[in-house]
Symmetry: C2
Subunit: 344 residues, 2 copies
């Protein structure tokens, strides 16, 4: 009686382990849909039913499957964030408020490092798109053609941050790196410095800042402005580059513009080690206004970018688009401020 008369297909779960809404519903004496409703909008379910469902969820330890939900609803409730490097505090500090803002609306962040290579970025974008994020943040405004194509084809809200362009893929929140470099040059020249040098590490944006500084200061003062470059933007690089400027490139004093506060601090340390007085023998300007700028000795003159506001604005812009609205402006320039302290 067991083997013979049962050609009827017995629907068998492939994985009997995972608790589903179906199972919760069975235990609570309701259908799967009711469980779904109970979770998405409790007001649509009677209090008694709600109580039984809660009980069943507690007993079974049910955790909804967001993958299935995303597939059915076509909303993954995930937002991709692509930054050059996680370990770079500059990106990390704008990511935190960005993430906070979105988390409060129920979104999870899918984060990846892209390095500084556009092709690597393109590959990462593709990997992210396969996860069907509801929106995406990109760092910078220069991308591979394929990246633009994929994003336009995917038709999702995209915000490009930490730089600015008139022709964003979709939205843009940032500031002009060239303008910040020029602002430093004008400040330094106005403060009376007649000689200058630059110290630069990192990505193409840092180079744009320093190039703009060198060009502007050169124009104002009529002198040549040497710029020393390196890969890694750490304290040791700052020290090494100041050494290079002084010992090998004949820099004898004036103002040193650095592409980051950390490099600038390296310069301060090397200057102290050489018995140079800052800003008397050597003035120093950083970039970023990180926490350390205010704590070093002497305190660092630097360029502040409100990274908190930037991250938050980027999140808001995306949320507006997600909600189907059109943001008032698709390009937001958050600007920058020169903070004068003791070092220059």
């Amino acid at each position: 009686m067991n083997q013979s008369d049962d050609p009827a297909p017995i629907p068998r779960k492939r994985n009997p382990r995972g608790v589903t809404m179906e199972a919760v519903g069975r235990m609570a004496g309701v259908s799967q849909v009711t469980v779904s409703r109970a979770l998405s909008d409790p007001s649509k379910v009677s209090p008694e039913t709600m109580a039984r469902i809660r009980e069943a969820i507690a007993v079974t330890g049910f955790v909804p499957n967001a993958l299935a939900g995303a597939l059915a609803s076509r909303r993954s409730m995930m937002v991709s964030a692509l930054v050059p490097s996680i370990t770079n505090i500059v990106y990390a500090t704008m990511l935190a408020p960005f993430s906070d803002e979105l988390k409060s609306r129920g979104y999870q962040i899918l984060l990846s490092e892209t390095g500084f290579d556009p092709e690597e970025e393109a590959a990462t974008v593709e990997a992210h798109l396969s996860r069907r994020p509801d929106a995406m943040l990109l760092t910078g405004v220069h991308h591979a053609a394929r990246t633009r194509r994929m994003l336009l084809g995917a038709d999702l809200p995209v915000v490009e941050v930490w730089d600015i362009t008139e022709t964003p893929i979709d939205l843009c929140v940032g500031f002009s790196h060239a303008a910040s470099g020029r602002a430093v040059a004008e400040f330094a020249h106005g403060a009376g410095y007649r000689q200058a040098a630059g110290i630069c590490a990192g990505d193409e944006r840092a180079q744009r800042r320093l190039s703009a500084f060198a060009e502007r200061f050169g124009t104002l003062s009529g002198t040549d402005v040497p710029v020393a470059r390196t890969e890694r933007g750490n304290l040791a690089s700052g020290r090494a580059l100041l050494t290079q400027l002084i010992d090998k490139r004949g820099f004898t004093g004036g103002v040193v513009a650095c592409s980051s506060d950390v490099l600038a601090q390296g310069v301060l340390i090397e200057a102290a080690a050489r018995g140079l007085s800052v800003p008397r023998d050597l003035a120093v300007v950083g970039f970023g206004d990180q926490e350390l700028a205010d704590a070093v000795e002497p305190a660092l003159t630097t360029v502040r970018v409100n990274r908190e506001a930037l991250g938050r604005a980027a999140a808001q812009a995306l949320l507006t688009r997600i909600d189907g609205a059109t943001p008032s402006r698709s390009v937001i320039d958050v600007g920058f401020t020169l903070i004068r302290r003791a070092s220059a």
Copy 2:
């Protein structure tokens, strides 16, 4: 003829936009399944078919839907990583190799900050579990009971890092914070220092390091070891806490153990500002051996934890479990090394 005789359901796609394997297959003259196979294992498809499918993919800009794939295969190819803070370089630097290692095997990282509150962590764990990650990394070994319950119920590979326990949820890669604190105490006492103080910021683990230091040094020297605490572990805090130790707690010299290199650098800066010579008037020991440790003046004596190796080992351990194998050890102590430089 339009209205009346057509009760037959016309299957209509809800969203005609998204390119699917179905659409690619149609264009290539094959079925949807063949497209799936072409992507997952090209060797199972004839070269000609493969070529036509490739062509169709290029033309349509098809990007596979990983959500659907995950739902069907029960493997999301995502790994969750939960750290207290993204902006803390300590966690970021172990996350990078962790992420690299997993990315090379096709996994994406789903990253979240948990803060330092176990309840917040529990909520984050739940949110992540709903995404059905294939494995999870947690920071620390102290979790809410509900967290343990959820994770045990979810039955996935879990690695706890940056601390060590004999009873991990699943896997553990870390080191003993108490032991590192004692090691610093023994080093300092052995180096001849007879007075000591501590400076501590941050999470419970930092406090455990400093408590162990204070207790051990106290035992060895028979003196009292004051420990100053604060919330934020930045340069300014380091300066402020040294001030507090000297001006308000009668600390007159000896060795200062800090819970991070950044705090230690703050101490160096404040000491210099006060005209104190390091290590003569004041010796300083940091923790973490961050890049700056070697670049400050004087170079910082500190405790090195190989965060790179830690992140990599955590990834490897998870991969082993994902592959269904049993790791040789479920608890890996990566240890620490005291790096003696000029500051103590």
